[in-house]
Symmetry: C2
Amino acid sequence: MIPVDAFDLKMLTALQEDGRLTNQQLADTVGLSASQCSRRRMRLEEENVISGYHADLSSDALGFNVIAFIQVQLATHSPDNAKKFRTLVQRVDEVQEAYSLTGDADYVLKAVLRDLKGLSDLVNNVLMPHQSVAHVRSSIVLDRLKETSKLPLKSALA
Amino acid sequence: MIPVDAFDLKMLTALQEDGRLTNQQLADTVGLSASQCSRRRMRLEEENVISGYHADLSSDALGFNVIAFIQVQLATHSPDNAKKFRTLVQRVDEVQEAYSLTGDADYVLKAVLRDLKGLSDLVNNVLMPHQSVAHVRSSIVLDRLKETSKLPLKSALA
DNA sequence: CCGAATTTGCATGCACCTTGCGTCGCAAAC
DNA sequence: GTTTGCGACGCAAGGTGCATGCAAATTCGG
């Protein structure tokens, strides 16, 4: 596995909190020089430990008022069908996350939509008509208790 | 709602793709000057349309091999109990997302863990013993088809 | 204990960011 | 129709941050 020491962990922790930290700020928080932080950061990016930087936009401010989890069962479990579904999911921007799970439903999607009509459109005009899909059941998010993409790095020492 | 024009949308789209874009790079892609991008970006941050910037870390590279969805039913539906659960969820770093949904289960959590033992610990030593929790059912992610936090901005013109 | 390799801090040249300033265009008031 | 006020724009300059070369310090194996 990729070498990550205590300095790296501090840097990663700081950067997943604030992705625009200056090398100097980073240096101050982890206890290294700015040049060293620059070098280490470049290494972490090179090794794909840091896979990218993203601005986090407010879904509320931009009018995305509906989040939904959608459970999808495929028509058949053939590899061909699975591939078709995978392609569909990649293509639809409203679907932020898609997983296959142990248990009942084949797939779970998380979708972000402007309103309930958007959800209806997605379910009835995109998912349901698709040849790979057999059954769809959606649950609407009533309350967001927590929403982050930060990894619990405290336990990590590769 | 907050004024967001076509320039802003282009900037937001670019920034949620690459959060470390330079104002000059931004200027080149949206067709404005760098100074103007700087000003608009500051305004978007001020208005909390851009709520932050984050480094995206590779869970694989850092050894987080298990993702799980956990359905939780509370012992009672009292506000007091809900608040206790909310606090618990905030405190536990392994829980990245937590929602209450329409439908059967009270809450759904998404957790990131180092291994199955980590999941077991979370379920049996953190969630189950907590006074607010009555029932827990976890599903393990077998495959990640898609995982992004980008909003589908193409449709947005507030 | 010594030498090689790695890591670090410092200095520097270059790129970038931000702010002030003058200009432009639009819209309301006259 | 003209004027006036306002907001947005680009340009330029001063300050800041970044990345690379280099030498000192540290680590590690023999």
